[in-house]
Symmetry: C2
Subunit: 214 residues, 2 copies
DNA sequence: CTGATATATGAAACAGGCTTCAGGTTCGGC
DNA sequence: GCCGAACCTGAAGCCTGTTTCATATATCAG
């Protein structure tokens, strides 16, 4: 059920990507604009009118590239999700120690939020717009997280009496909450005391209890 | 700028609470109904029509008690915020040990979310509806949390090299994330492995590093 | 019992924003 | 330089959901 180029898309139909450079440019302009508008106003308060205006195209042009408002939103969430995971993965790749990976992962996350404050707010909105999409976002993040933690447990870098999934959601929750409080609200990197606390808390939390024997 | 009883409220005016028992009952029915509808549909997809229908009152009655849609939403957030804090405080009051307080606090929170699945979604929506309200919710929660943690630090139950506020937001984030994943998505209490992990993680995280001695 | 006040009703006015439509315009290949 | 496909336009249709209003009923003090 793919609308042919030149035809108007039926509701719910998939619209093929534009073939010419010009079309691709326009589509991208719409996505960029949507990121800003959704981020600033929230999904429901954002209007197609404003999205197209900021993208410097006519209202009708929007429906050449997206069947409806929700569709461009989904596109945005997918993009954000991918970029976030790639960014963190890239920063963490070379690090051997899991604790260090966590610390850098948190830092990278904060930095990402700071650079894309809008993209980030978009995710929160997904909860209201499309619950499945929202869960998908967290599940994909959690999956990677769990794998990494299991590996670290096998390597003895994280105590293995902890459930990896529980840990994954705990850490994601921490990062979001802290990111919201310090980065989104205060608009800057978390203060030094916060960063120290994160490290210390994770260190003892992940490595575990005193072992009487070594 | 308070609308007198019997008068129709001007936009933005404050409406006094109903004086008679009958009025109070009706107002409460509307609030309960709103909690359900906002929770299920989200603020923007929720309609006054459905709220009044489920409350068994006529459409116009709504505007006897609330000047507009947003207003009842705010009311709801305030109510839930208060109830949540009271509930947790009550469960935790008799406990001396901070770690035990945390564990019970988490459990109580999960139970609260289970009983008021809507609370959670309502709060998240606040982010889009009224950012100040959203922040107010977390700030009030954090305030109490910070005080409790400081006291525990003074009593030597929590390591004192950690920043209390950072810790508070970390723990709130954990609770929310886990509550979302296990209670909201799966609809039941978190599994045993998760509860054990929470305890173990908090225990070493809060009490601190392994001490070789003792 | 009676008037004054509080509470209740639901049809209709109103507003705002998504989506459609009936044509233009641009552009690359021949 | 011509033709068809791809791309673009923006006024208007349309639908949904908030808010108002004129009117009706319940309650209670005196």
């Amino acid at each position: 059920m793919v609308a042919r180029r030149g035809e108007r898309a039926k509701r719910g139909a998939v619209i093929p990507l534009p073939t010419t450079a010009r079309g691709q440019r326009t589509r991208q302009k719409l996505i960029d604009s949507a990121e800003a508008v959704f981020g600033e106003r929230g999904f429901h308060n954002a209007g197609i009118v404003e999205i197209t205006q900021r993208a410097d195209v006519a209202l009708g042009t929007f429906y050449l590239y997206f069947p409806d408002k929700r569709s461009i939103f989904e596109d945005l969430v997918h993009t954000l999700n991918t970029r976030l995971r790639r960014t963190i993965a890239a920063e963490v790749r070379e690090i051997d120690d899991r604790l260090e990976q966590e610390v850098v992962g948190f830092e990278t996350f904060f930095e990402f939020v700071r650079k894309h404050r809008n993209l980030y707010r978009v995710i929160l909105q997904a909860e209201t717009v499309d619950d499945d999409l929202y869960r998908w976002h967290y599940r994909t993040l959690a999956e990677g997280y769990v794998q990494g933690l299991r590996k670290a447990q096998a390597a003895g870098q994280v105590r293995s009496d902890l459930d990896a999934e529980t840990l994954a959601y705990s850490l994601m929750g921490m990062a979001e909450s802290l990111g919201s409080r310090y980065v989104l609200w205060d608009g800057k990197r978390p203060p030094a005391a916060t960063r120290r606390t994160i490290r210390a808390f994770l260190e003892s939390g992940l490595r575990g209890k005193p072992r009487r024997k070594s």
